[in-house]
Amino acid sequence: MPLARRIIPCLDVDQGRVVKGVNFVGIRDAGDPVEIARRYNEQGADEITFLDITASHEQRDTTVQTVERIAREVFIPLTVGGGVRALSDIRALLNAGADKVSINTAAIHNPDLVESAAARFGAQCIVVAMDVKRVSTDQEPPRYELFTHGGRKPTGIEAVAWARKMAAKGAGEILLTSMDRDGTRDGFELTVTRQISEAVDIPLIASGGVGTLAHLADGITEGGADAVLAASIFHFGEFTIPEAKDYLAARGIEVRR
């Protein structure tokens, strides 16, 4: 297939500063999302995802300003998520230069937000983010449910049915994060990735758990993901984007170079 699988570095940003640290050689300000986005752009990242983890709603103007600064210099797609609650939040981020906006908890509280956002701004810019955990025992068929509050709060919503519902509401893409794997470096949760990728016709971004380049490839070949998202393996300079692409290409996966 000629369409390239996408590699997406993810920046977690709190009050305008990248958290979890970034360790690039020669970078002036490791906390500056603009500097880091520019670096990933130069390396050939296919997209950048920017997750605003700022707790306070009042400080969110900083996010809009940061998005504006990134969009002035980075000419690849930019997805922004975190704390998006209303159409006005989406409009502000799109006007600031985001290409896609990701909706997570607000979609659970108000699924019609996805529908009205897709109708107003176009499905192509509405990403639904899903944080899931396995709730079945090892003896049972695998079942995954949505969680909120960083994986602490169960919702009882089954993941595959939810993905189908969000696609039907007009989501243009799913960003799937396994909260069981997030931060573990054990690799993507491939079972739920495959379940959801097969269940919906819209593209799926796999997230949570990448520790090696093989994990990226597995997300695509075994999980069926259209794009793979990772943070720490790129931030700490363990691997560059070109190294990841070389590896995927060697595994027979189409990439953009």
Binding site: M1, P2, L3, A4, R5, R6, N41, G44, D46, E68, A71, R72, E73, F75, I76, P77, L94, N95, A96, G97, A98, D99, A119, R120, F121, G122, A123, Q124, C125, G172, E173, D201, I202, P203, L204, D226, A227, R256
Partner: protein, 217 residues
């Protein structure tokens, strides 16, 4: 050659990315407007588009951008670059939103990729067509200068353009169908992909547009 660019604004979302990319590509000045007097003064014009075609057409017609664009294209001395939904709006009809008549500047249709889309090996293809795909330069054109044939550009769309006159097509993509990635007619160049989001290849295409004289030779 000066490069004062007007980006036609019909109120359908963010045009800063297009404007920033044009500035980055070397435009001396970029204005975002739907004022006919301002657009008449520009050296070249960009007709962008994001969102659903029905809403786009409603705003295009309400603001008189249809007449404006036709006047610009007829003047022949202002090169025009149409992007994504801006390209789709040029055709006669789109299947989106249950069927919408569009500007009819270029004869042809805009089709849905359809459910159950598959590649030539029978693999299921997701819709929207979202990501970096190869663009085959089916005809030479000044806007392809310095861009390798088969370079990848960023696409995000669920509908694809099929001009009645296949000779207008200057670039194609494969995604279950062979679709029109770029078409050219006199002072018009229209692309389905987003050059403003296509990194090096996209910026090169924009810089080519900034020095293009509006002829196809």
């Amino acid at each position: 050659m000066t490069s004062y660019v007007a980006v036609i604004d019909y109120g359908m979302g963010n045009l800063h990315s297009v404007a920033s990319a044009l500035e980055h590509a070397g435009a001396s000045r970029v204005v975002v407007s739907h004022d006919p007097d301002i657009i008449a003064q520009a050296d070249r014009v960009v007709f962008p588009g994001v969102g659903a075609i029905q809403d786009c057409m409603a705003e295009i017609n309400r603001l008189g951008c249809d007449q404006l664009l036709k006047a610009v294209l007829a003047s022949a001395n202002q090169p025009v670059l149409a992007i994504c939904v801006g390209m789709q709006a040029l055709l006669d009809h789109s299947e989106e939103n249950g069927g919408v008549d569009t500007l009819g500047i270029i004869s042809g249709r805009v089709n849905y990729f359809g459910a159950g889309l598959k590649d030539d090996q029978g693999q299921r293809l997701k819709v929207p067509h979202m990501g970096w795909n190869e663009v085959v330069q089916t005809k030479p054109h000044p806007l392809w200068a310095g861009i390798a044939d088969g370079s990848r550009f960023y696409f995000v769309h669920s509908y694809w353009v099929e001009p009645s006159d296949p000779s207008l097509m200057v670039g194609s993509f494969d995604y279950g169908v062979t679709g029109c990635a770029a078409l050219a007619n006199e002072n018009l160049f229209a692309v389905q992909f987003h050059p403003e989001k296509s990194h090096v290849a996209g910026l090169k295409l924009l810089s080519n547009f900034l020095t293009w004289d509006g002829t196809c030779s």
